[in-house]
Amino acid sequence: MNFVIKSNGVTEAYDSYKLEKSLIEAFRITKSPAGQAEHSTKYVLAEFQKWVQDKPEITSSDISRQVGKILGNIDPSTAYIFKNFKSII
């Protein structure tokens, strides 16, 4: 199980559902077509899972940065929105 240290210092278990919700919200803001948004969300979640699997503990900024990086390769405008969410997790 992976844990996330939030910016307020609180640690909680990593929840991919929360990340998925944030991604869906970012795609909604950029008005991405539903099919494309769903496909991209699945891709980002899978790539992020690969990255996080050997990291028992990460920070919420790590999530923002890494997801932004993965998303940036396929959809830069949604990546920009995602990276600038005030609080995602």
């Binding site: 844990f3 240290i5 990255w51 050997d54 990291k55 028992p56 503990e57 990460i58 920070t59 900024s61 790590d62 940065r65």
Partner: protein, 457 residues
Amino acid sequence: MKKTNFDFDLIVLGSGAGGSAAANIACKNGLKVAIVESDIFGGESPNYGDIPRKAMLNAAHTFFLARRASKFGVRSSTLGYNFPSVAAWKRLVVKRTGADDNTDFYEKQGVKTFRGNARFITPNEVSVNRQHLSADNFIIATGSKIALPDIKNLENVPYHTPRTILDVMRPPKSIFIVGGGTEAIEIAQLLAIFGTKVYISEISSRLLPQEDEEVGLSIENTLVEDMKIFVLPQTRVVAVEKEGLSKKVIFQRGGTEKFIKVDEILIAGGRAPNTDIGLENAAVEYNDEGIVVNEFLQTSNKNIYAAGSILGNKFTTSDILLQSRVCANNILKPRAKVSPDYTASPRTIFTWPEVASVGLTEDDCMRRDLQFKTSIAPLNLIARGNTDNFKTGFVKLICDKHGKILGGSVVAPEAASIIHEIGIAARYNLYASDLADLPHAFLSWNEAVRIAANRIR
């Protein structure tokens, strides 16, 4: 050292050449030190790199020279080798280094050891298996990993790396090596001596493009003539395919696409720094080459230093040990910081014959717009070349226009030892005439250094 509430005065990330020396020096000087290793204690060089490779090369070269000893009247009708015994020899040598994933070495010195992936969570804190460790200072020496070249279908075809090839049960019948650097050349020679048909490819126009042309051509000549290795310069591997038990390597050379079928493929090209350790959380700047440091090996966070291949792919193990000592010094004596001086750092390849160089190459001089002079002394000019029947190597010196030694290269048996004479001369601003005037032991290989120095006019 100022008083803090941190767990340690210094945490070293990585126990290889870049980390170990610094951890021990800091501990001996009274700091409370921890070292974190994500892989195997001792790091790459003693466990998977220089040491096991040299141990196996020693066996290979002994076999190779014994086969050629009939010239001296030495004959053996039963000359052979047993590869599992060679592998056992390698394991014994690794064990004798004391590294071999051994934490006792550190614990006895008072260095606390932790095993796991360290990740910065704040500038003064790392998480190791969810255990938070804090320190006033850090040294990042997390090294590098093999960077896979852009070769189509590589992910679907099994391949070796320099780390895995030394663990094979028997030498493959044939191998294609992608990359023509130091590791690749040493492994090519090792396998060729034990009977493998070796192809070695390099994108540049010759092997060892970072060294002087004579060096690259000389080693290429040895590989081709003495070891029957197929050297493929100016070659770009574009794809690989699996065909039954064989592997098909497709490459571009001279404007045409060709292929070769081999038993194994070895990827021995570039390396990428291990920077995925939460550096952003510690405000440490890095780029694709590695962590960015100043002349004191200090990162953008002044309490965090870095050493080794995390700084880039150009450093030898001796450079990295020097960096490690420099980091320790600069943490212990923040008001008397020093910078690493690479002037006399030797670059070596433990082939037969050995290749060694130090200081500036001709290309370095041209890039710096320096006026320079060179001289070469072939080994067939000295008595030792005659007694040992070795005539193909040379000593090359590079001097400024006044004759001050700037660097040099040696291709010879024991070149890695000979090179230090040139290194000392370059480091302490000696002139070629100083080396020429120095009496050199008759029948030593170093006589070629004197002759080369004497030829500088």
